[in-house]
């Protein structure tokens, strides 16, 4: 496989193959249109019985209008981020997701339609069968794609030697406080996502006459969680490192006695963490990642590292090391 360039493999597996799958699915469903009744079931309730009907062309249309752009966009994102960056596990997962999504959608839709073809007999079978198939096939294909894609490279973080400690006298109280918020482009993107998700949920509820009210729960949770990642307050003091969302939760406190050392690291959000916000990276690294650039990195005694992208991280690291050296005693 190695003679086929890495970029080509990514292009084929995360852009071309998913597109081909979707287009083939659309072509197949369109070819079935003559053998389908004018009105078919296009939505099934949780009990497995159809509760939404429409013209048979709805499903291939949905696949074309929603499926194809989504898959193309994700694949293009991977290619765009891969240029000039190491191919990290996070990026590789995104690449595989594109193929996985295209297969789930296509098999799910086509399977739902196939069972309703006039020659097959009366009634629309519940989509449980095609969905299970869809997930199964998609996951197998995703696993295969994982092996065919270039090997992922764990990003090597910059050397994490401790920042020079600040001298903190025995009775002194020293603190470092800073507020940090997501950069404007990220805020706009997150708000757009929130609006999209809420709109989709509202549409689903309206279309089903309010019977699917619980569909609003997930978007509401997403909106609240997203809002909580937009602004944070960061403190270094005798309590240790305290990172708190402006909304109050989520919050992280790393007490001084759990800290081995603090330093500053260069962070690449997409390459190392697969995105922005409260992230988990590979290699026991987690943190609040709001932008690329300098981040305060705290190495815990447990070996895990917590990072926060913030300006003046150097002072924060220096103070943390000084407080740890002093023993973290808050003399009163």
């Amino acid at each position: 496989m190695n003679h086929i360039s890495a970029r080509t493999r990514i292009l084929v597996l995360s852009v071309l193959a998913p597109l081909v799958v979707c287009l083939a699915g659309i072509a197949l469903m369109v070819s079935w249109l003559p053998s389908l009744p004018d009105v078919v079931a296009i939505h099934w309730g949780l009990d497995g019985r159809p509760d939404g009907y429409g013209p048979a062309s709805t499903l291939p249309l949905l696949l074309g209008v929603i499926g194809v752009p989504t898959v193309a966009f994700v694949g293009w994102l991977v290619l765009w981020f891969e240029a000039g960056r190491p191919f990290t596990p996070a990026l590789k997962l995104l690449a595989v997701t594109s193929l996985w999504t295209s297969l789930v959608l296509t098999i799910g839709f086509a399977g739902s339609l196939s069972g309703q073809r006039v020659s097959e007999g009366a009634g629309a079978p519940a989509p449980a069968a095609p969905l299970a198939w869809a997930f199964g096939v998609a996951t197998c294909a995703a696993l295969l794609a994982w092996f065919l894609l270039p090997r992922s490279v764990s990003p090597i973080p910059s050397a994490g030697s401790a920042t020079a400690a600040l001298r903190v006298a025995a009775g002194e109280r020293v603190a470092w406080v800073r507020d940090v918020s997501a950069p404007r482009p990220l805020v706009v993107a997150l708000i757009a996502l929130g609006v999209l998700v809420t709109g989709a949920a509202a549409t689903a509820i309206l279309v089903t006459g309010g019977r699917m009210w619980f569909v609003a729960v997930a978007p509401l949770v997403i909106v609240v969680l997203t809002a909580s990642t937009l602004a944070w307050r960061i403190r270094v003091d005798s309590h240790g490192l305290v990172v708190r969302s402006a909304l109050g939760v989520p919050r992280v406190t790393i007490p001084l006695d759990q800290i081995e050392q603090a330093h500053v690291e260069e962070v690449d959000p997409v390459g190392q963490f697969g995105g922005w916000g409260w992230r988990w990276g590979f290699g026991r690294r987690s943190g609040v990642i709001l932008r690329a650039g300098d981040a305060l990195a705290v190495k815990r005694r447990s070996g895990a590292t917590f990072l926060v992208t913030v300006d003046d991280a150097d002072s924060a690291a220096s103070l943390l090391n000084g407080l740890v050296a002093r023993g973290g005693l808050a003399t009163r």
Binding site: A169, R173, W176, V177, D179, D237, D312, L319
Partner: protein
């Protein structure tokens, strides 16, 4: 923003808090329009009364370094640029004093004299 207070010192706590912030300003660490952290957070970090911090903020407001606005909190004004400008002179002056063996209180007294003349 780095803040240091020493409860054992003769200088009142609120003065020390204000001095910390002023020091940040003179070192160019504060930007125009930057919002200072909430007094409550600062008080909790330094383990002092919130009114101590509020008094420090008010002192800085009286100096014109920050604006206290309802809802927006403490916002750094353009005056910080002047503090930073003056701050450029400080390292050289203090280094000079150290070389001559002149301590901070003597130097402060000399500066105060200079203002009076």
């Amino acid at each position: 923003m780095l803040l240091r207070v020493d409860p054992a010192s003769d200088v009142p706590l609120f003065e020390q808090v204000a001095a910390s912030i002023r020091s940040d300003a003179s070192r160019g660490g504060l930007a125009v329009g930057e919002r200072l952290p909430a007094a409550r957070d600062v008080a909790r970090s330094l383990d002092v009364n919130v009114h101590t911090v509020l008094r420090a903020y008010q002192a800085l407001r009286d100096e014109g370094l920050i604006d206290l606005r309802r809802g927006r909190g403490a916002v750094v004004t353009e005056r910080v640029l002047q503090y930073a400008d003056l701050g450029h002179d400080l390292p050289r002056l203090v280094a000079h004093a150290k070389r001559l063996g002149i301590g901070p209180s003597a130097l402060s007294a000399m500066i105060r004299q200079e203002f009076a003349s």
